[in-house]
Symmetry: C2
C-alpha cells in the first residue's frame, strides 16, 4: 500500500485526485464539523466550493429540510444558518437535514474529490475508524490536507500531524506501507508534535486565530481522539455516513459496504 | 525576526512575495547550479519562467556571451547549451557569460521573487554564508522552497530540510526568532532527517529520480555543506554574486553591500 500526501488543497486539482482513494483532513474545523453533523443525524452534507454555489443550490432545495453552513475567515457567512463550529451542529439542529456546506479550504477539498474513487472525511475525532477503513480498502491512499489559503503559505501543522498519526498507525500494523517525501514528512511531524494534540491545536497558527475570535471550545472538541467513531463518505455529490452510503466505498465491491 | 516558509513555489505568487526578504531553496538542483555558475565566474544568471521566455530573451542578446541553461524532467532542454547539472557549469564554460536559466521550479521561484525586497539563492553548498546574510538583514525572512510540480504533490523533502537547517542555526544564535506552522515543521524535519544530507538527498523522491536518469554525481555535489561560500542575489532581473550586485541587498542600505 502506497500512502501519498498533499499538504494543501490549493495544491490539488480534481483530475489529479481522479480514481484515488482520498482522505480529506481539515482538523480545524471542516472535517470535525462534517463528522459531528452526520453523527448527530444530519441526512447528508453537500460540500460546495463557493458561496455562490451554496446560494444557487439552496434555491432549488426545500427550505425546511435544508441548512446552509460554513465560514469565511472562521466566522459564519452572512445569510447562512450555521457557521463552522462542530458544537453548533447539535442533534436538535441538524437531525434529518441536508446541510449545504461551504468553507475556505475543507469543503473545497471535498468538492475537488468528486472524481475520486473514494472520498472519506478524517480528523482526530474519528481516527481509529478511518484507519480501519483504510486497512479495509487494502489499496493506495492519498491523504489530502485542507491546509490554509496560499496567501498564508498553505500549510496547517494540525492537518499534517493528523495525517501523520494515520500513517504511523498504518505502519504499526503493516502489510508493507510505502511512503513518499510528503507522507514520510507527515509521519515525522506526528512523532515530533503528536504527543499532546490539544497543545498542538492550541499552538498552531489557525488554532491561535480561532482562540482569538472566540472558538476555543472548538479546539478542545477537535482534539478528542476517537470521540466520534464514524466514517463520512462521498456518495455522488453528497457526504453521508458510511452505513447510509450505497455503492460507494470501493465501487466494485458495493456489496461489502457495512 | 519572524521566519516564515512556503513548501512549494507553486503555492506562491509574486504579489505575496512583494517587499519580502526571500531565500529561494532548490537543492536538487537549481539553487546549487546557480551558486556553482556564479562562483565559477559567470557574469550573471537571468532566471526565466518558461522556455518561450528563454528563447525570446536570448534572441536579443549577443550569442557569444550568452548561454541557455535549464531542464525539463531533469534533462537538458532541446536547443539549450547546458542542462541543470552544477557540474556542467565549469569555469571554462561559464566565465564571463550571461546564463539564461529555465528550470521547472527553481527558476520560476526566482522569477516570482522579482518584487521581493531581497532575493537570495540558498542551498546546502552555501549554508553558512546564507545564514550570515540573514543575520545581517536583521529583518523578517521568507524561505521559499522550490518543491516539485503540483501534479506530484508539490513537496521536496530536501528543500524543506535545507530550510530547516537554516532555521535551526538561526535559532541557535538568537536574537528572538519567531516561527510559523510551516517554519516550525521545517525545523522539526531537519532534526529528523538532517543527520546525513547525502543520504537524505539520495533517498528523496527527486533524488531517486535523478539517480535513475544518471545524475548521481549531482546529488553528491549538492550535499556538500559550505563547499561554495557565496551569496547569489537578485539585482533587477539578473542574479549576481553579492559582491557584484549594487544597491540591492537592503535597498535602503545600498552603501553597506559587501
Amino acid at each position: 500500500m502506497k500512502v501519498d500526501l498533499i499538504f494543501s488543497q490549493s495544491q490539488a486539482d480534481e483530475m489529479q485526485l481522479r480514481e484515488k482513494n482520498v482522505i480529506v483532513i481539515d482538523v480545524l474545523r471542516s472535517s470535525t464539523t462534517v463528522i459531528a453533523a452526520l453523527s448527530n443525524g444530519a441526512r447528508e452534507v453537500i460540500p460546495v466550493g463557493s458561496i455562490e454555489s451554496a446560494v444557487k443550490i439552496s434555491g432549488s432545495l426545500f427550505g425546511d429540510v435544508t441548512l446552509r453552513g460554513g465560514e469565511r475567515n472562521g466566522r459564519i457567512i452572512q445569510g447562512f444558518n450555521l457557521g463552522n463550529s462542530p458544537l453548533e451542529y447539535t442533534e436538535a439542529t441538524v437531525r434529518g437535514k441536508s446541510i449545504i456546506f461551504c468553507t475556505t479550504n475543507g469543503s473545497v477539498a471535498m468538492v475537488k474529490s468528486r472524481y475520486a474513487r473514494t472520498m472519506v472525511v478524517g480528523a482526530f475525532v474519528n481516527m481509529s475508524t478511518i484507519i480501519e477503513f483504510i486497512r479495509g480498502l487494502d489499496s493506495d491512499v492519498l491523504l489530502l490536507c485542507a491546509g490554509r489559503p496560499p496567501a498564508v503559505g498553505g500549510f496547517s501543522l494540525e492537518d499534517v500531524v493528523c495525517a501523520g498519526m494515520i500513517i504511523q498507525r498504518l505502519k504499526e500494523k503493516p502489510s508493507s506501507v510505502e511512503l513518499t517525501d510528503s507522507s514520510l514528512a507527515a509521519q515525522s511531524l506526528y512523532k515530533a508534535f503528536g504527543r499532546s494534540i490539544p497543545k498542538l491545536l492550541k499552538n498552531s497558527d489557525h488554532g491561535k486565530y480561532l482562540l482569538e475570535i472566540g472558538f476555543g471550545d472548538d479546539i478542545k472538541v477537535s482534539a478528542e481522539i476517537d470521540s466520534i467513531p464514524v466514517v463520512p463518505v462521498l456518495s455522488g455529490t453528497v457526504i453521508k455516513l458510511r452505513k447510509d452510503a450505497v455503492g460507494v466505498v470501493g465501487r466494485d465491491a458495493a456489496g461489502s459496504v457495512a
